[in-house]
């Protein structure tokens, strides 16, 4: 089924998202960016970044901010105001509507917006690998019927069936799932690139209603950048007597630096503006290096920040509410990343604002959610469960070896091959555990069974495959299979996910609390297992070499094996490591000794032994005193 995409058709930038597997996902454009500039060259039909790059070159031909003209009459006051600063020609079209004129050809704002939508549609199709012909498009809360109709027409021109037009603040609230909360009044504070909107919404029976909306159509992030540029340029001028704003190249660098400083000061308290060779004076290069603190930046833009609160107050008054009546505050627009704005909004409303979703994308995300509801995707999501806790088996030394990690989506299965811990061990015990702790005793035991009839063999040789399989209803089947004989044994556990939420939380919490001590305990066991394996290999080597190595060396190794065996079962990890290292070094001596003695004839045999000795030191198989029936990793 073709998906319904959500589109935030913005004044400066546009963004789109779609529901996928029950979750909203922002769709990147063909250039790999999540937002596309709402800039169009209608004669060449170029859209986005490519069109934006020609703004200076063809100011009369490249259209931006066309949203300001959507569904407006030419005689409207706002249009008359915009004519004064927009570089392209705005004329009176059919029925007195405002249209754009380029080279004698007129374009309605709908047509221009449709070109943006067409690009988004095309990029979404390429991304999703499917046709996209339905959309939910957002508009500002203050858009009247004519403006909404015009937006809808733009969608239709672009070949999109507009399933619904929704308000931007409503979309932002949907993105935070506020429709499911029992809140009555929601405030949406939206400070974008070029416009500021404030809206009070009332939620009743899952339906959002706009109580009041206000704003400033010419206040946004660009103004903040300009303040910083002016400050830096003035500072440079005071020091060097040159106005950088008059040199396009220097201005460009200054603008980039100002934007970078603004972004950096959202996460750090100080930033450096470092612009070497910014200009030339008397044939000598001049560099510009200065520091800016967050406090400095905040005081520079304080006036702009405070400017947003006049509309906020007016809006609250129109809505007939006080800050006490507000249950939720939502932040939208890139500028709301600024800590000062977050703090001021929080101070004014006495409530921490929502800001988990990317403020540049939150409106598109909300539109996608609305699209998902219309398309049935949201309610029709197949709920696949996950395992709340890790499932594993006990291995030598009482360690839990996880097979299925927690949060794995089920149905799922996983298998791993284990071996025996002792020579001639004919049975293994499979002990199934649930929990996040590294040691078996700390986790919940789900069941155990024994696989018998393994043919006698040295430790580590038999191969027992243990398979965990959880079906969609959470029933866990554990099967152990001896690869040599084909013998199999299994157990079915029905209560593997049947823990209450509190139990799960408790177990997770315990795992976090005991993380450090558990790690220590596990390390000790691992060191012990390695020591045991090393002692075993050393004994085997001694048996193999017999008279080929000097007796004193053999005695030394035997002594070190005994020493290691004594310290191994104590709780001193360092002592075990020291004894292991000593034994491992002694073992290497055997290899060297034998190598020098039998240069030619026994070269091959010696290499094998050396390999054995080397392997014991490197691979460190995790063994300890073998216990009958224990599974060893």
């Amino acid at each position: 089924m073709a998906k319904i995409i959500g589109i935030d058709l913005g004044t400066t930038n546009s963004c789109m998202a779609v529901m996928e597997g029950g979750k909203p996902k922002v769709i990147p454009n063909a250039e790999g960016k999540n937002t596309t500039p709402s800039v169009v060259d209608p004669t060449k039909r170029t859209v986005g970044d490519v069109a934006k790059r020609q703004l200076v070159m063809n100011p009369q031909k490249v259209i931006f901010s066309v949203k300001r003209l959507m569904g407006k009459r030419f005689k409207d006051e706002s249009v008359q105001r915009d004519i004064k600063w927009l570089p392209y020609a705005i004329k009176e079209g059919r029925d007195g509507m405002a249209v754009v004129e380029i080279d004698g050809k007129t374009f309605t704002p709908q047509e221009v917006s449709a070109m943006v939508l067409q690009k988004l549609k095309k990029d979404a199709e390429a991304y999703l690998g499917d046709t996209v012909d339905k959309a939910v498009i957002t508009v500002p809360a203050y858009f009247d019927d004519a403006q909404r109709q015009a937006t809808k027409q733009a969608g239709e021109i672009a070949g999109l069936k507009v399933e619904r037009i929704i308000n931007e603040p409503t979309a932002a609230s949907l993105a935070y799932g506020l429709d499911k909360k029992n809140s009555h009044h929601i405030v949406v504070y939206d400070l974008g690139g070029g416009t500021f909107d404030i809206t009070v919404l009332e939620l009743g029976e899952g339906v959002f209603q706009v109580k009041a909306t206000n704003g400033d159509t010419h206040l946004g992030g660009d103004d903040f950048d300009q303040v910083v540029i002016d400050y830096l340029a003035k500072k440079f001028q005071d020091e060097n007597g040159i106005d950088l704003r008059k040199d396009p190249q220097a201005l460009q660098r200054l603008r980039d630096a100002a934007e970078k400083a603004k972004i950096e000061l959202s996460s750090t308290t100080e930033t450096e503006i470092n612009l070497p060779f910014i200009t030339v004076k008397d044939n000598q290069p001049i560099h510009f290096v200065t520091k800016m603190t967050r406090a400095q930046f905040e005081s520079l833009v304080d006036e702009l920040v405070q400017k947003t609160f006049a509309p906020v107050k007016a809006c609250m008054k129109d809505a007939g509410v006080t800050t006490k009546d507000i249950h939720e505050v939502v932040l939208v627009g890139g500028m709301t990343r600024m800590p000062k704005i977050i703090a001021e909004v929080e101070k004014y409303f006495g409530k921490e604002p929502h800001r988990g979703v990317n403020p540049d994308e939150v409106v598109a995300v909300g539109a996608a959610i609305q699209g998902g509801v219309i398309g049935g995707e949201v309610s029709d999501v197949v709920l696949l469960d996950v395992t709340p806790l890790t499932l594993g088996v006990e291995t030598l030394g009482g360690v839990t070896t996880p097979l299925i990690q927690r949060n794995t989506t089920i149905p799922s299965s996983k298998s791993e091959v284990f071996s025996t811990a002792a020579d001639n061990q004919t049975s293994v015990e499979i002990h199934i555990l649930q929990g996040e702790r590294p040691m078996a005793k700390d986790n919940k035991s789900l069941g155990r069974f024994i696989l018998e009839g393994i043919p006698p063999a040295p430790r580590g040789v038999p191969q027992v495959e243990v398979k965990f399989d959880i079906d969609a209803s959470g029933i866990l089947t554990v099967t152990a299979h001896d690869k040599a004989t084909g013998k199999e044994q299994s157990i079915k556990i029905t209560g593997s996910t049947g823990l209450s939420d509190e139990e799960i939380e408790k177990m997770k919490k315990q795992a976090e609390e005991h993380e450090a001590e558990d790690k220590k305990a596990k390390e000790l066991i691992e060191t012990r297992n390695q020591a045991d394996s090393l002692a075993y290999t050393a004994e085997k080597t001694l048996k193999d070499v017999k008279e080929k190595a000097p007796k004193e060396l053999q005695d030394d190794i035997q002594k070190k094996i005994d020493e290691l065996r004594t310290v191994k079962d104590k709780d001193d990890k360092d002592a075990i490591t020291t004894a292991s290292t000593a034994l491992s070094e002694a073992l290497q001596k055997i290899g060297q000794e034998m190598y020098s003695k039998h240069e030619e004839a026994e070269k091959k045999a010696e290499t094998d032994e050396k390999k054995d000795a080397g392997a014991s030191a490197k691979t460190d198989s995790k063994d300890q005193e073998p216990e009958e029936g224990e599974v060893v990793n």
Partner: protein, 163 residues
Amino acid sequence: MQQNKKNTSTKKSSTEEKIKQLKVDLELCNDKYLRALADYRNLDNRLTQEKMRALLDIQKRTVTAFLSIKDDIDNAALFEENEGLMLIKKKFEDILRTFGVEKIEAEGKEYSADTMECIQTKPAEAHNQVLQVHEQGYLLNGELLRVAKVTVGVANESKDTTN
């Protein structure tokens, strides 16, 4: 006898109905399964693509961050005929080349919005020709890494425009 027959036929029809229902259910399940499988395959393909994209993106971001130093070195080289500096410049360019970074040749060429951003226009005889490069543009393995910021000549224009 007749009763028996009737019973059998009722039984038969109810079994038939059951089979019919089961067939419908099976079809539904099969359809759901195929859809899930298709969704998975599509997701898998896309994840691979996204991974490649992400790798390229990281590479782009890292290389772009170093381009500002390249600009500074280029600027410094304009003022100082220092041999050491020239060696550093060359070394930097070699490293960029090994990453697949290449310069966008703009000066004297025709303006193209695909790789260049016009930050100023000046009256000139040759319309649409790049007169000056203010910030060097680069491609990374043929893809746009950073646009070249340029002044473009405009024929029959009365005054300069500045961004």
